[in-house]
């Protein structure tokens, strides 16, 4: 068995479990909750199989939906993020960057931060748009997106630093 594959499967299950047991119960100010489970999509290897990422993101989302009674909103948001991930890479790291050497779970640089920020914003906006499903709620959607994004990013960065301490 490939060790990268094992790490990914382990990450998939662990992030889902943490999300469902802990973070789904965190309601800051009543309605802001973080979704750090998308770290699975963010941390997926850059040169990994794209189709596998799309399928596993769909599974990740649908399991979240199963637990939060939300139809297919998480699944759609995860799919959109997984599909546009290469484009976000190009935007954040520049065209000429050596893609094979990028590691997201490392010290925070402006490029890495902009990549995480963009990913989280895209996921959250899709999620909350589909969850409200009414254009009259657009202002609410935007406010929740911004607040939840801040919350999610803080927790994502904490998790990245916890899992991968700097090797010196």
């Amino acid at each position: 068995m490939n060790s990268a594959l094992l790490v990914n499967i382990f990450r998939f299950i662990l992030l889902l479990a943490i999300q469902i047991i802990i973070f789904n119960n965190m309601n800051f100010l009543g309605y802001i909750s973080p979704f750090p489970y998308i770290l699975f999509i963010i941390l997926y290897p850059v040169n990994g199989n794209k189709s596998a990422l799309v399928v596993s993101s769909f599974l990740l989302g649908i399991i979240m939906d199963l637990f939060s009674n939300s139809g297919g909103t998480h699944a759609t948001a995860c799919l959109v993020l997984a599909y546009f991930r290469p484009s976000i890479f190009k935007f954040a790291f520049g065209l000429s960057y050596e893609y094979q050497t990028i590691k997201i779970n490392d010290v925070l640089t402006p490029q890495r931060f902009s990549f995480i920020l963009l990913s989280v914003v895209i996921h959250h906006f899709t999620l909350f748009l589909l969850e409200a499903f009414q254009l009259s709620f657009i202002l609410d959607t935007l406010i929740t997106t911004v607040l939840s994004t801040i919350f999610t990013i803080i927790i994502c960065i904490i998790i990245i630093y916890l899992i991968k301490p700097n090797k010196r």
């Binding site: 189709s51 297919g72 799919l79």
Partner: protein
């Protein structure tokens, strides 16, 4: 033929994405329509089981508040027992009036959401206990929601904090009817719409369930009027109703298994057939 295969191989990722996107969007749209059989719901073996385990842990943290609630209920029952013949005593609000005790089923909330526009609860009783769709769920303070999906051991409830929820309600003292909705803003307040302007209301009046619905019996507490809006165009009031229940903190609930309900539905069906 060769070209078709080439095209598929070249765009396999995009085709896969579009296919899965189609599936998930279908599920999303389906979950927003009113009459549906929901495929992705938390009333299943996997999520129900996990929520039950998590809830067992959480219960320890809530022991104090649950104890307080039980002690309060005990005191109320004791006062009923000791003051039976006393007619001068102030009549307590009896939220379970109109419900026969044999129709009530005690159940436990194992998962509760209140931070999105469409909120659901998961209960730990299901078809085995005789729970069916469209049964009402209440607790000692007031209404909680309506059963939507059931599995063998679990069921999901459309909370009153759900945009799709619509419950018939009335002003307790004047019998004017309206329908109870939620605008998705605050977990402490729901809205009573379509209440005729003829109704004499003031802030603080009690809102109870109306007799027109077959889901809830009449006169189950909902809340008190907190704000009154007058619609300038139509002749209706819209009210903000402060709930008696704290929807963010629910423990044990009662499911109403009314036998009258089937009788009424059958009767109305016969009427339609003729």
């Amino acid at each position: 033929m060769q070209q078709i295969f080439n095209f598929i191989f070249k765009n396999s990722n995009r085709i896969l994405f579009l296919l899965l996107l189609g599936i998930s969007l279908t599920l999303t749209i389906q979950s927003h329509s009113f009459h549906r059989s929901k495929i992705i719901s938390s009333a299943n073996f996997l999520s129900g089981g996990v929520y039950e385990k998590v809830n067992n842990l959480n219960e320890y943290l809530n022991l104090k508040t649950q104890n307080d609630a039980l002690a309060l209920e005990n005191a109320k029952l004791k006062s009923l027992l000791f003051n039976r013949k006393d007619t001068t005593a102030v009549k307590k609000l009896d939220s379970l009036k109109g419900v026969k005790p044999e129709d009530l089923l005690v159940s436990k909330v194992i998962h509760n959401s209140y931070n999105v526009h469409e909120n659901y609860l998961t209960l730990n009783s299901g078809e085995i206990d005789g729970v069916k769709a469209d049964m009402g769920v209440i607790n000692s303070l007031g209404i909680v929601g309506v059963i939507e999906n059931t599995s063998k051991n679990y069921s999901t409830v459309v909370s009153i904090l759900n945009k799709r929820s619509q419950i018939n309600a009335k002003i307790k003292k004047s019998n004017h009817f309206g329908s109870l909705n939620w605008n998705g803003k605050s977990t402490g307040f729901v809205q009573l719409t379509d209440l005729p302007r003829l109704a004499l209301i003031k802030i603080g009046d009690t809102i109870v369930t109306g007799g027109q619905s077959v889901i809830f019996p009449e006169n189950i507490n909902i809340g008190t009027i907190a704000k009154i809006y007058r619609d300038k165009i139509t002749n209706y009031y819209t009210l903000d109703v402060k709930l008696f229940n704290d929807m963010t903190n629910l423990g044990h609930v009662y499911i109403i298994k009314s036998k009258d309900r089937e009788e009424i539905i059958n009767l109305e069906k016969r009427e339609k057939d003729e």
